[in-house]
Amino acid sequence: MGVSSTTVIEPQSVRAALEAILPRVQKPARYLGMERNLIRKPWDSVALHVALAFPDTYEIGMSHQGSRILYHLVNRRADALAERTYAPWPDMGAALRRAGVPLYTLESYRPVADFDILGITLQSELNYINIPYLLDLAGVARCAGDRGETGPIVLGGGPCTANPEPVADFFDAILIGDAEASLDAILDTVRDARREGAPRLELLRRLSGIPGVYVPRFYRWEPGRDDGLPAHETLDPAAPLPVRRVWAERLDPADQPQTPIVPFAEVIQDRLGMEIMRGCTQGCRFCQAGYWYRPVREHDPDIVAERMERQARETGFEEVGLLSLSTADYSQIGPLVHRLAGSLGPRRVSVSLPSLRADAFSVRLAEAVSTVRKSGFTFAPETGSDRLRRVINKTFTNADMLRAAESAFASGWNLIKVYAMIGLPTETDEDLEELARLAEQLVAMGRKIRGRKVEVKISVGCFVPKAWTPFQWEPFSGVEELGRRIRLLRRRFHRIRGARLSWNEPREAALEAILSRGDRRLGAVISRAHDLGAVFDGWNEHLDLKAWERALEERGIDVETELGERDIRAPLPWDLIDAGVRKGYLKAELRRSRNEAATGDCKWGHCYRCGIPGDGKDIRLAAPKLPPPPEDAPAVTSGTPNEHGHTVPLPAAGQPAQQAAVYRKYRFTYAKRGDARFLSHRMVMDALERALRESPSTIPRATTPTSGCPWARRCPWVPKGSPSLSTSSAPPP
């Protein structure tokens, strides 16, 4: 049931209603826009209003780098504003409905239906169920064809647009590719059309003329024609077929947010993230991002370093993340890491390097930035079998990984995390046995070097065939078969002391597989599943497969066919997209996988004619602007811990030694009033710590109060939303 869009609801009415709603819902701070650096422009000061919706919780959405970029790209324009909204947790969704309050934005509490554009990020197939949920709450018709002349243009974007068909019916338009390439043209078009009072259909025609814009209502998918093969056809002469993906030729630093939003509510990745590279040409045959985001484009390392140093100072974050699909493949990663370790380490700001490779170089990189904390070292070999790794075009071996693990253990890590998949094409039980043997070898090596405290965690996900990969024609292994393989692994790991196995739910993966390769018919299934109660599929506590099973059955979808092998000659639902990578290349890669043949990384010169034009010239490597780290450089902050346990940097040759910092304990008395009363004790402690770190007048290190500190345990209870006028707290020593 939706919220009526016919009633005019003012932002102040929404805000007033929240006073009664928020004390009764979980984590109310996520519904208030309690953040620093968020942008609030006067509504009437701009011609174009964009609501950016993320179809998952605030905690997840605020960790999404793409959304930060979009927010910046819109708000930097003088004629437009962007505000944010996230999928409210079901308790909040129900409370909004009961109170007759529509979905609103965090910046202004204005109903989403008031905006000119409602942009929804398609980050994961398991978020699809929340699209009708968001539209209902906003009071916007679910199907694009049912929308009238007023109300926002519902615009989609994000990596799932590699196959937009399952959600096509929900969207007026979908941007296929990088926002940097076409977003301004879209905003100009909507602004002008609204100013002229152009009918919605005319606006959509204009949008379909913009490179990369797919207007689903101008296309039809025929699942079975006279010749027995499905096909797309266009219904409007303005609609191009195929729709070409667009990408930014260069990564412009001006397209990155200058001042990031600092949340006070809890988020999943509570760190300052910065993209260093887009695209990856390692050519892993299961990886959609690896094909979708080609070509490789790198950011200038000097600008990245300068910006991270400044933003770390300005925000008080204690961790910065260098973001890319394969961080160790960034051509300037060594000099950049060396620079950041030197500048951020003394401020106790750690550098995280997600997506490292399983090799010794990655270990050295991680070591250079791990002086602040040494959490687990993560490898993603995908499988324990060298043979299967050749099938998927991962070019390293178990022996390489053991050497890397040896370096990691020798450098002080006690925990190795391994990400693997089951259900990959050609996988056998012997491949699973090799994963178990690899875990045994890792544990044995770790114990030899570090003793019994070593831990190896193996996390197993289920392979899901994705559009625009060589494995897009491969079958999903099936829920029962994957369950059998997991049971086999569990029995085997039961005998390995020091190794822990965790796994993903195969039924959840099956749902993802259906949604990944589905066609237009799935829009009605998603809608029906939501009507039957499905919401937040990505969260185990909410995954309602019975609703999905019923919806699929009611709409006549044959699940076995959807999950099975695809005919390599037949048209595919996502053929209406031209991703840049040729279908013929993907077929060739599929054949090579069966021969276990390696395809090299084209980034270093050899072009394999994947279809991205330019014969390799599209690849934009960063200029080597930073000095390389000296071969014999000591660890950047190596030295002797002082009496407080803080490491004092070693002096450079000929330089006097630095005086050790002096640390004092303070007791703070604080008051929590107004919206701050919705902050949990932990959030208050985080906010205080961040402010202390950021303030130039204070010491660079504020110790982290943890939930285990005595004061946190003794904090007297008040109900959620109750103010505290005078409360003492103090960071522990």
């Binding site: 008080g316 303070y666 008395t669 929590k672 109900p719 103010p723 003492s728 103090a730």
Partner: protein, 127 residues
């Protein structure tokens, strides 16, 4: 202080910062009592005294005063010689407030009282 407060979310404010001597006891050891102001629920005034409370809860009530407008001013001990002291939630539920009603009760925690270190129990400071 102003510079730090400018970096905090609206409504969160540092009022004071006191340097501590080395070896000062932790805050957890000093927290002694908390003072609350609890608005009454519609047509359900708070009692004039805590006599109706069960003895184990009543023993934690240091102060109980009902204002003219029905607001209850309450001081609750954070420690109990017999173990953990009852929370305000327990007090309210003992007064007949159902758990689902708790979010409707308007409560302000006005202060947390600290014991003065090494000076005996009776002497206290307000934090």
């Amino acid at each position: 202080m102003e510079a730090i407060n400018a970096l905090l979310p609206g409504g969160l404010e540092i009022l004071d910062a006191t340097p501590l001597l080395p070896g000062a006891p932790s805050l957890g050891k000093l927290a002694d009592a908390a003072r609350y102001r609890v608005a009454s629920l519609p047509e359900r005034p708070w009692p004039h005294d805590p006599g109706a409370l069960p003895p184990e809860i009543r023993s934690a009530v240091n102060r109980w005063k009902r204002d003219g407008d029905g607001t209850l001013r309450l001081e609750l001990a954070l420690r109990s010689p017999t173990g953990s002291a009852p929370s305000l939630k327990k007090v309210l539920m003992a007064l007949g407030v159902a758990e689902e009603e708790l979010p409707s009760v308007r409560i302000v925690r006005e202060s947390v009282l600290l014991r003065r270190p090494k000076s005996g129990a009776p002497s206290r400071s307000e934090g």
